[in-house]
């Protein structure tokens, strides 16, 4: 049963990922990315890491996708299509990607992983205590660094997006600025 669910999730992830990077409709490609992220959350549910699945759904599917959709709608109009890429470039990059994938897969299948049979799960207490512990193996330092990073990113995003009213009213609002 779990096997079938995993295969369905894998097919969903791969098919929608391919659709997401090849679709020429901008908004559709964002929605395909949303399906990919939901499929990944399904994999986390399958291996019993429920907290991580919840994080994946809230932060990625709830936060990042909405942010990207907002930026798409602010920047394009809905039916906008991306310009077509040269077929030669597509084939070349596709071949390079397949080559890299081949290298990865031969390396993975050549290595004998010492898998341990288990059905461990992780509960919220362990995560909270681990994040705030300053014993050996605790994560208090990266936790604090991440909090400062998030604050800095928030302030930076506000400052950048607010911007100053550009003094380009005399410049033509063309495709690109002229080089000074």
């Amino acid at each position: 049963m779990e096997k079938i669910i995993f295969y369905i999730l894998a097919i969903i992830i791969i098919v929608f990922a391919i659709a997401s990077v090849t679709s020429r409709k901008m908004l559709r490609s964002v929605i395909y990315l949303l399906f990919v992220l939901c499929g990944i959350a399904g994999i986390y549910f399958l291996i019993d890491y429920n907290f991580l699945a919840a994080i994946q759904l809230t932060v990625y599917a709830g936060g990042i996708i909405v942010l990207i959709i907002f930026s798409v709608l602010l920047v394009h109009h809905i039916e906008m299509e991306l310009e077509d890429i040269k077929t030669s470039k597509k084939i070349l990059v596709g071949l390079a990607s397949l080559l890299g994938l081949g290298v990865f897969l031969t390396t993975i299948y050549a290595y004998n992983f010492p898998v341990i049979e288990n059905s461990n799960s992780i509960d919220m207490d362990t995560i909270g205590l681990g994040l705030l512990s300053y014993e050996a193996g605790g994560f208090i330092l990266p936790f604090e660094v991440i909090s400062v990073l998030l604050l800095a990113a928030m302030i930076g995003a506000i400052v950048i997006a607010k911007g100053t009213k550009i003094a380009t009213s005399d410049k033509p609002k063309g495709k690109s600025l002229e080089k000074n």
């Binding site: 990077v21 990315l33 399958l46 990042i64 890429i85 990865f104 898998v115 341990i116 950048i160």
Partner: protein, 105 residues
């Protein structure tokens, strides 16, 4: 562990996902699409962390903690990137890679 699924199959899926992200990163010419491809690559690496933790070292949870940190960094990165893209759009009315040719203004 997922009953009946070996670690090889999951690593295969994540490798494919990673290289789909690389393909999109190189072929797309739109800043937002490139951002989405980066999200795909990051997600593939997060699944690798989690799955290797679950299958090889089930008694410690380092992989889960690192995944949480990666997700936080990815969220910060996306917020900043979207801010930059919107600011850029107000300056040059375009988010195509070929139109962004100067660093300042």
């Amino acid at each position: 562990m997922i009953a009946g699924i070996s670690i090889y199959e999951i690593l295969t899926v994540t490798s494919i996902l990673f290289f789909i992200g690389v393909y999109g990163f190189i072929t797309r010419t739109n800043l937002i699409s490139i951002l989405m491809s980066v999200e795909l690559i990051l997600n593939a690496s997060i699944i690798n962390f989690v799955v290797i933790n679950k299958y090889l070292y089930p008694d410690v949870f380092q992989g889960v903690f690192f995944s949480i940190f990666i997700i936080a960094v990815a969220a910060a990165e996306t917020a900043l990137a979207v801010a930059i893209i919107i600011n850029l759009y107000r300056q040059i009315s375009s988010v195509e890679v070929k139109d962004t040719e100067i660093m300042k203004y």
